[in-house]
């Protein structure tokens, strides 16, 4: 339960990263900006022409002049239309490209998280980052960023055009710059937190509702109806408070903004009228400036509207980048695993929290090919010892070494070829059954260079049936380059793995067999089925040492027993360390370690431990019932 929160990047790093990723596409950015600028310029012709018309009408002009002005007005509209279209496409391409890079980067970083972090952090925080933060970023990168870009360009050009028409009249804009800037700054300082709180509060409502719905049976069983109703009302109260807060921010911001847009219009009319009466400016200039100022408010409004989205995106980006800041937990050494592949723990001590050791100097030798069981009460340190034996954590003091090579110093790919940990934490990936089975094979099959890394094929020793007398060597993918993953030959392998974990029955009954889509968006597999898939996947990876931490705990006890038996036949010759809460696992093992209080309290075969008449024997007797005939030792 060490729910360590993953780090969050600081604002400077976020800015640097944003600059970097934008700078990767200088051309796309330049094209977008140019097109939008041209479109904005074309759009600025309108007021100017109208000004001319007004002036013309005022001064008395010809119909043909009006026709020409109107025609050019229409012409610029068409030009602006065309430019806008291309600018939009360019901006869209730029935005989506940047966004795709951002999210791919993030997933890459998630996938590179150190093993120990993954094992101890839990997935909640990460899932939030992958869903809410990526989504917030999408809004920022795909919507806010282009809109803001366009708004800024349009605004600058409109300002320029205004100044060009009449520097004097355009000065009225300055009246509102300060109040607008002040109120916007005041708002932005509060808005991000406010909107994040609002979103979080709303998420609580939906989470609460889905908890009520998913737990409807529990609600009924325990009579929690009033509680759930009260809890929903409480969530709503929280959401309403958050909404009222941001509303109060907008109640300040909006009127100031909206009034600010009108003030320069009135100002330009007033000043324009005065200047016109003094013959400093023409009527055309007054009209054009007034209309420009009115037009200016559109991009300004857009800019202010999207700024807070951009801020929220920045906060999300900080969390996404934070994932990359977890330091590596492995120090690669140059030891090679050599035969005999004894898995040796010496004086192993380990603590999750400094000063609180959970293992107190464990000594242990697991021989190659041995079936080794660990039993003991919860919190005794079995799972921790399992993780150390799988090379996920390094010991605080002491060593855990396989064939003389400390596990924590093995390169990750090599480690996985040697030792694999399977926990009760099951997950069915969205994809086909085949995808789920071949997760690890891809690595094993394509990376043939690492010493001791097996090919994708299950060696003959692992086959269940006796219809496969030939060795597995020729079926190794990549040997002749012709064996494809979907070849029937490859399927045989998958089916054998499924058969070994008793999953061939339900798998064959799936509508599309191995091609059936499972996991989110597909057929939902039960927890026991998910565990079976995980074990079948493991068989395909075929490591030398397997650490099974309650890997069958979700199966019906009888099914678990059967599965373990067939699995153990398939895994003959592999070292299997099983942490189990069902004693038949211990009974079937070559040796049993009773772990208590971070130490191995008893060690020996089932028979030896029974003969020793210690804790294990007592547990076995109470579990098994002394009236039953003693099962034959295997």
């Amino acid at each position: 339960m060490s729910a360590r929160i993953l780090p969050v990047a600081n604002p400077r790093e976020v800015r640097r990263y944003a600059r970097e990723i934008v700078a990767r596409h200088p051309r796309a950015l330049a094209v977008t900006m140019t097109l939008y600028s041209l479109a904005a310029v074309a759009g600025l012709v309108g007021p100017r022409l109208l000004g001319q018309l007004v002036q013309g009408v005022q001064d008395g002009t010809t119909i043909s002049h009006i026709d020409i002005v109107a025609a050019s007005l229409a012409g610029f509209v068409v030009l602006q239309t065309a430019l806008t279209r291309y600018a939009y496409v360019a901006a869209g391409r730029f935005g989506t490209t940047v966004l795709a890079e951002l999210r791919e980067d993030f997933v890459q970083k998630v996938l590179a998280l150190p093993l120990s972090t993954v094992e101890s952090a839990g997935s909640g925080d990460l899932v939030t980052r992958a869903s809410r933060d990526v989504d917030a970023l999408r809004r920022s990168a795909q919507m806010a960023a282009p809109e803001i870009l366009v708004a800024v360009v349009t605004m600058l050009l409109t300002l320029g055009a205004t100044a060009l028409v009449s520097p004097l009249l355009s000065a009225v804009i300055l009246i509102v710059v300060t109040p607008l800037a002040l109120v916007t700054r005041w708002y932005l300082r509060r808005a991000t937190a406010g909107y994040l709180r609002e979103n979080a509060a709303y998420a609580r409502i939906t989470d609460g509702l889905s908890a009520t719905v998913e737990g409807a049976a529990t609600v009924e069983a325990f009579g929690l109806q009033q509680r759930r109703i009260a809890s929903a009302d409480e969530d709503i109260r929280g959401s309403y408070a958050a909404e009222l807060y941001t509303l109060s921010l907008r109640t300040v911001l909006w009127p100031v903004q909206e009034f600010s847009y009108v003030v320069p219009v009135a100002g330009s009319l007033l000043l324009g009228g005065y200047a016109y009466s003094r013959h400093w400016v023409t009527l055309a200039q007054v009209t054009a400036v007034t209309l420009y100022i009115q037009q200016l408010m559109v991009p300004l409004n857009t800019l202010l509207d999207w700024l807070d989205t951009l801020q929220v995106g920045g906060a999300s980006l900080a969390r996404l980048l934070g994932v990359a800041q977890v330091p590596s937990d492995r120090t690669e050494g140059d030891h090679a695993v050599s035969a005999p592949r004894d898995l040796v723990g010496r004086e192993v001590r380990f603590a999750y929290v400094e000063g609180r050791d959970v293992l107190h100097g464990v000594d242990l030798v697991v021989r190659p090919g041995e079936r080794f069981a660990m039993v003991g009460p919860s919190g005794a340190g079995k799972s921790t010892l399992g993780r150390l034996l799988a090379g996920i954590h390094g010991p605080r003091t002491g060593t855990v070494a396989l064939g003389g090579a400390p596990l924590i110093e093995l390169p990750l790919d090599e480690l996985r070829g040697e030792v694999v940990l399977v926990t009760q934490d099951h997950h069915v990936f969205a994809g086909t059954v085949r995808d789920n089975l071949q997760l690890g094979v891809v690595i094993g099959g394509e990376d043939e260079t690492g010493p001791g890394v097996a090919g994708g094929a299950v060696p003959s020793a692992v086959t269940v049936g006796d219809d496969q007398p030939s060795g597995g060597g020729e079926r190794k993918p990549g040997v002749d380059g012709t064996v494809s993953r979907t070849a029937p030959d490859g399927d045989d392998e998958l089916w054998r793995a499924l058969q070994a974990v008793d999953a061939d029955g339900w798998a064959a009954a799936l509508p599309d067999g191995l091609d059936t889509r499972v996991g989110s968006g597909g057929i939902a597999l039960t927890a026991p089925q998910a565990q079976q898939l995980a074990l079948a996947r493991l068989l395909l990876v075929d490591p030398k040492v397997l650490v099974l931490d309650e890997a069958t705990s979700l199966l019906d006890p009888r099914a678990a027993r059967h599965l373990e038996r067939s699995l153990s036949a398939v895994l003959a010759g592999r070292t299997v360390i099983a942490i189990a809460h069902r004693l038949h696992t211990a009974h079937d093992a070559d040796r049993v370690a009773v772990v208590e209080g971070g130490l191995i309290a008893e060690l020996g075969s089932h028979r030896e431990l029974m003969a020793a008449d210690g804790a294990y024997a007592r547990l076995w007797q109470s579990w098994h019932g002394d009236a039953a005939p003693a099962p034959p030792a295997v």
């Binding site: 339960m1 018309l53 007004v54 109107a70 509209v77 279209r85 939009y88 496409v89 869209g92 490209t97 966004l99 997933v107 996938l111 998280l113 993954v118 909640g124 992958a130 989504d135 908890a211 719905v213 998913e214 737990g215 409807a216 049976a217 609600v219 009924e220 069983a221 325990f222 109806q225 759930r228 109703i229 809890s231 009302d233 709503i236 109260r237 309403y240 109640t251 009127p255 909206e258 009108v262 003030v263 009319l269 009228g273 009209t287 039993v375 009460p377 919860s378 934490d425 997950h427 990936f429 997760l439 891809v442 968006g521 027993r561 189990a580 809460h581 547990l619 109470s622 098994h624 099962p631």
Partner: protein
């Protein structure tokens, strides 16, 4: 501002989607009216802006009249101030409309969800209900929110039309006909885009789901490798989505272009005509500028009209989904009619269909040959399914309100989840448990270490439905919660399937100890029956591991069947009707009952013999039940348990001191009192605990060994009953199921 949420949203009108929406409107009429008023002010003040600017140019500028100039500039400012003020007030009202509609919907859907309870997942996919919270609420809110802007748009369009027509009829007509056509055209162009965007959003959701999938399954991925494949797949999907996004952008760009083109053309055309009119002197210069302004402005209210139509359609669709959920009804219903029978306390829970009979106060275990059977049997006994005819003390569960059954019988399954609150609140579902009771339950469930590992102990917030706990930890917390609920009968389905053997052993002992409490280890029971024309009563005691039968009383002269008539107890009559067993079954049950009350291990051989002996002693013709209350001692000391014999079968019934002491004490020979030196429980709570029944559906030998009675169910019927050890010896199929599952 209104205070939200309202304490009670009331009964929604769920007859149709429209009625539901109208119900919401009625509830929010004040803010809806307010929103409309300010919406009109806000939009009209904007509509008048071109006119006022035009007047400023005409009256103030072209005529070089500084007084007029000042006046009209002030009017511009005043109009701007009106827009700004009414704008925010409209927004405030509209937001409340939006929120109140959404919140009310969440409230009524939550109330409906808890009303449906266990039926909910059977009738509707969880996703559909959750979608109410994630999207429908916003759609419905959007429908109400838009009313403010809609009314503003309508009034503004009318206002502009009037102004334009009074200025220039032909130009006014052109604008009034042209702008709607242009807007409608844009709308038609929009439609296919909406569909494409929808499709694109679905793909976007899929990619997000992929990222979540990777994050959630990261442990597996990192554990055995496959990152490269996943990164590659994600990259290609991400790039695919990027390409799709670009394609959508292309279509969108067409729209963006049309949005520039259409009003642009409109403005150009109007300006062209207006300029000609102005040249002819039919329009002033200011009016020319104003017409330019109207043409540009009108697009806004017209877009609002279309948006409103769209919002209301979507609100209607969303309301339809909400109404569908609101119209669902629970599968399990209260019996028709008013006051039916009441569930008796301390009675046997019996299931006719399977032949299962669970005596009160016992730690009873059920082993099902087929694991799926355990689920349905447990659901049936707790009336989570309307099947068979389970009865408590002869009163069918279906004959009393469901809430009554829930108060008495708890079903705790591994599929049960936790919610988001402090662990203390999550465990103490009644909210009434004392700290020591909570502590005791945690200890009994062997979950002390789980709580202690938490940063704030019991005050720690349970997040994400408890998914941060491991399977074994969750199971122990679930057990603690079930024990704390302190129901008379607790059904636990595979409560220890995910905990290790050491912990399981402790839990088994703790459960047994809970049931031995109050009996003080030397538990006792009274066995009584009417036989041979008389009342037979024997006292069973277990002390030092041996069963002792004492105080065998035979009250002669009591006519057969008389106690039934005399007591007139409704439960008794029921009891009698439902039990017809052979003499050997009776003997077996007799033995079980004896052991059941004993609570702790009696050597199986001994108990069988003793049971037979008791049976013999009460034979030959036990036929009518004695009333349980009749055996309650006159002194108000809670008796551990009383067994009655009906038709040769022991009917264990717990008699509480609350049950009609007066009638029984008066009507029965004093021998009832003679049998009373039962070890009295130390505390009332202890006695309550000892009277509680726990039924465990399991195949775990550790739990079974501690159960008082074990029933083995095969093919939907009870195939054998006895203690675990008896059954291991006598029933090979049982032994196969519980010890190994599969013998070599």
């Amino acid at each position: 501002m209104r205070r939200l949420p309202v304490p009670d949203p009331g009964q929604p009108d769920a007859r149709s989607a429209t009625r539901y929406l109208l119900w919401l409107v009625r509830n929010e009429r004040a803010t809806i009216f307010g929103g409309m008023v300010f919406g009109v002010l806000w939009m009209v003040s904007q509509a008048l802006m071109p006119a006022v600017i035009g007047r400023t140019i005409d009256a103030g500028i072209t005529h070089r009249n500084s007084g007029e100039l000042l006046r009209w500039s002030a009017a511009v400012l005043a109009l701007g101030a009106t827009t700004a003020t009414s704008g925010i007030l409209r927004h405030r009202n509209a937001l409340v409309n939006f929120l109140a509609a959404g919140y009310s919907t969440v409230q009524v859907v939550t109330r409906q969800a808890v009303r449906l309870g266990a039926t909910l997942p059977k009738l509707v996919a969880a996703g559909d209900v959750v979608a109410v919270g994630t999207s429908d609420v916003a759609e419905i809110g959007g429908g109400l929110d838009v009313t403010a802007r809609l009314s503003g748009a309508i009034v503004a369009i009318i206002a502009v039309a009037v102004i334009m027509l009074t200025t220039s009829v032909p130009l006014g007509l052109i604008v009034l006909v042209g702008v709607p056509i242009v807007t409608a055209l844009t709308g038609i162009l929009l439609r296919p885009l909406h569909e494409r965007q929808q499709h694109f959003r679905v793909r976007q959701g899929e990619l997000t789901a992929r990222a979540i999938d990777i994050a959630a399954g990261l442990r597996v991925l990192r554990g055995i490798g496959g990152e490269a494949a996943f990164a590659e797949r994600y990259r290609s999907e991400s790039q695919g989505l990027r390409a799709a996004a670009v394609a959508v952008t292309r279509v969108e760009s067409g729209l963006a272009a049309v949005e520039v083109l259409m009003p642009g053309v409109m403005v150009a055309g109007v300006t062209f005509l207006a300029a000609r009119f102005a040249l002819d002197g039919k329009l002033t210069v200011g009016e020319l500028v104003a017409f330019y302004g109207y043409a540009a402005f009108l697009a806004t209210p017209l877009r609002t009209l279309m948006e409103a139509a769209d919002n209301m359609t979507r609100a209607h669709v969303a309301a339809r989904r909400v109404v569908r959920i609101l119209n669902l009804n629970p599968e399990i219903n209260d019996p028709d009619g008013s006051a039916g029978p009441e569930l008796p306390t301390g009675a046997t829970l019996a299931d006719e269909e399977s032949g299962l009979r669970i005596p009160p106060g016992s730690l009873f275990a059920v082993v099902c040959a087929d694991p799926g059977e355990a689920d349905s049997l447990a659901a049936r006994l707790a009336r989570f399914e309307d099947a068979g005819a389970p009865a408590l003390g002869g009163v069918p569960l279906a004959a009393v309100p469901v809430s009554e059954v829930r108060k008495r019988i708890l079903l705790s399954r591994n599929s049960d989840r936790f919610f988001t609150a402090t662990l203390r609140d999550e465990l103490d579902t009644s909210g009434r448990a004392t700290a020591s009771e909570i502590g005791a339950a945690i200890d009994a469930a062997s979950a002390r270490d789980v709580v202690e590992a938490l940063p704030d102990g019991l005050a720690t917030e349970v997040v994400d439905g408890g998914r941060t706990f491991s399977g074994g930890q969750l199971q122990r917390l679930r057990l603690a919660r079930a024990l704390l609920a302190q129901r008379e009968i607790t059904l636990l389905v595979e409560p220890t399937s995910a905990v290790d053997a050491h912990t399981e052993a402790r839990i088994a002992q703790n459960l047994a100890a809970l049931h031995a409490e109050g009996g003080g280890g030397a538990s006792a029971g009274v066995l009584a029956g009417v036989g041979g024309g008389g009342l037979v009563e024997a006292r069973l005691m277990v002390a030092a591991g041996a069963l002792r039968v004492s105080d065998v009383h035979t009250a002669s002269g009591v006519p057969e069947a008389q106690p039934v008539r005399r007591a007139g107890h409704p439960a008794l009559r029921e009891e009698r009707q439902e039990t017809e067993m052979g003499a050997d079954t009776a003997a077996e049950l007799l033995g079980q009952a004896a052991r059941g009350y004993a609570g702790t291990g009696i050597p199986s051989q001994a108990s069988m013999t003793q049971a037979t002996m008791i049976q013999a002693s009460t034979s030959p013709s036990m036929s009518v039940s004695a009333s349980a209350p009749s055996l309650v001692p006159a002194v108000p000391v809670p008796l551990d348990s009383v067994a009655t014999v009906v038709d040769g079968a022991v009917q264990p019934t717990v008699a509480t001191h609350a049950t009609s002491l007066a009638t029984s004490a008066a009507s029965l020979p004093a021998n009832g009192t003679a049998a009373s030196p039962v070890a009295a429980p130390a505390t009332p709570t202890g006695s309550a605990a000892s009277r509680r029944t726990t039924v465990v559906f399991t195949t775990s030998p550790l739990l079974l060994d501690h159960a008082h009675i074990v029933a083995y169910v095969e093919g939907g019927r009870v195939a054998a009953v006895g203690t675990h050890r008896d059954l291991l010896l006598l029933e090979p199929r049982y032994a196969a199921v519980v010890t190994r599952g599969e013998d070599e």
